[in-house]
Symmetry: D2
Subunit: 149 residues, 4 copies
């Protein structure tokens, strides 16, 4: 059943966000396979972490930008779906500021910025273990039919 986010107490909204994340993660083989872990979720926000593995390194001996993107995109998905309304990515942009290297522990912090009807904007920063920002990501979300759990 769908609870309207606006009618929820903060505690209930938080509980819903956690329940949605658990349900999503259980089916999210992609994030699981990359070793992505959920550090925390909240209504409209998510923090995920991933360690750069040997199979994520590209021809320049640095982490393939695709995996940095994927971590950010996962954080975006958990933040946007935290209200339990099915939401997908319409488009994303990413700016790469520094390289990630083998063994780096990356953290992506996603936060919804604006919701306007069915469309939303979510910003994600990706930092390494030294708290250096290595990428900034912006996702445009579109709410579709149905609920996550």
């Amino acid at each position: 059943m769908h609870e309207e986010p606006t009618s929820l107490t903060p505690a209930a909204a938080q509980a819903l966000a956690e329940r949605v994340a658990e349900g999503m993660y259980a089916r999210d083989r992609a994030s699981q396979g990359l070793g992505i872990r959920i550090v925390r979720v909240a209504p409209g926000a998510a923090e995920l972490t991933m360690t750069v593995r040997g199979d994520m390194v590209n021809g320049h001996a640095i982490c393939h930008g695709g995996f940095v993107f994927t971590l950010a995109d996962s954080a975006f998905a958990y933040a946007c779906n935290s209200h339990n309304a099915n939401t997908v990515a319409a488009g994303c942009s990413i700016e790469f500021l520094a390289s990630a290297r083998l063994g780096d522990v990356l953290t992506a912090r996603a936060r919804e910025r604006v919701l306007s009807g069915r469309n939303g904007i979510c910003d994600v920063d990706v930092a390494n273990q030294n708290d250096e920002t290595i990428a900034v990501f912006r996702g445009k979300s579109a709410r579709i039919r149905g609920h996550v759990t």
Copy 2:
């Protein structure tokens, strides 16, 4: 040694692009691990393919956008480095037009659009086995020191 792209015959530029791609791919554990294969390269262009596997599926039962992005980003990298000058991604944007599903065979076609000094723009279209465009990607490249091979 670096051959200036502009001084090459078309055949030599094509041979160089192929040699660079082979050298990059041999070290590109990321693309190898995802089953990405190079269909063809040419000066300023590349075509890569990837089949959507079970470990690429996300919580909505469709291919995680991160893997579609990664395929496009790899095609971008092979196109931009085809002149043998080391080139990295400064930023990228992707628009998702349709979902990719388990078993779909995706093809990314990258083509350099503009080179302006050390900066370039490269467009990549990603289509499925029915030649339906599922995503369009634009990468901004920055040439750095050194050569690929």
Copy 3:
């Protein structure tokens, strides 16, 4: 009345594109005020021109990027609406490759790349009088209710 684009002969689609552009331009005080002129339109395409005036110059003595964007955005609008279905911009990105200067004659060439349901992608290149590309623009369009004329 609305003619379905797909049912039109090429000549009728061209005539419709021209009629729509005339109707739009007559109400388009923004483009008129900037001296933007329509060079040609076709189904899914448009070419517009603008000369950089003294009141378009910014604090760095070069054309304010906003006017380069506006020219590209107008070309995007004429291309997307050429089928006579009301279409608006959902979002745009622009990469600036070279400066435009006072007196430069800029040409924006827009071309629809993909249509997927109500959403589309349109690419616009902006060049100066020496045919040097100064900016590349990508617009994401959304079709809304109604027709242009």
Copy 4:
């Protein structure tokens, strides 16, 4: 003469930001001509306002997106140059969330998000007089030689 931002007291950095903005605005015929006014500047931040005039309206009877972009782009420029190091836009993206209409008073708030070497990311939100966000803008800046004043 150039003062290194990092060596300045907060009061001196603020005074520098104000002095730079005054110098830029005096030469910024583009912003002046559009009626753009600077509400406030601070190190790495700027707030600008603009009223939608009759000559900013497009064929859909709403403010041409180009002028919303131009306001955001100006705010971006004042924020990025506030440290007195010449900085230009490498690229920008904008998402349009709601229309601006004739007579609307728009406010753009720009804030530097990340600086990484010569490159930076600056986010700008554009709101109307009802504090409704109508667009979000992200600018990528590149520092070049020289100082603003």
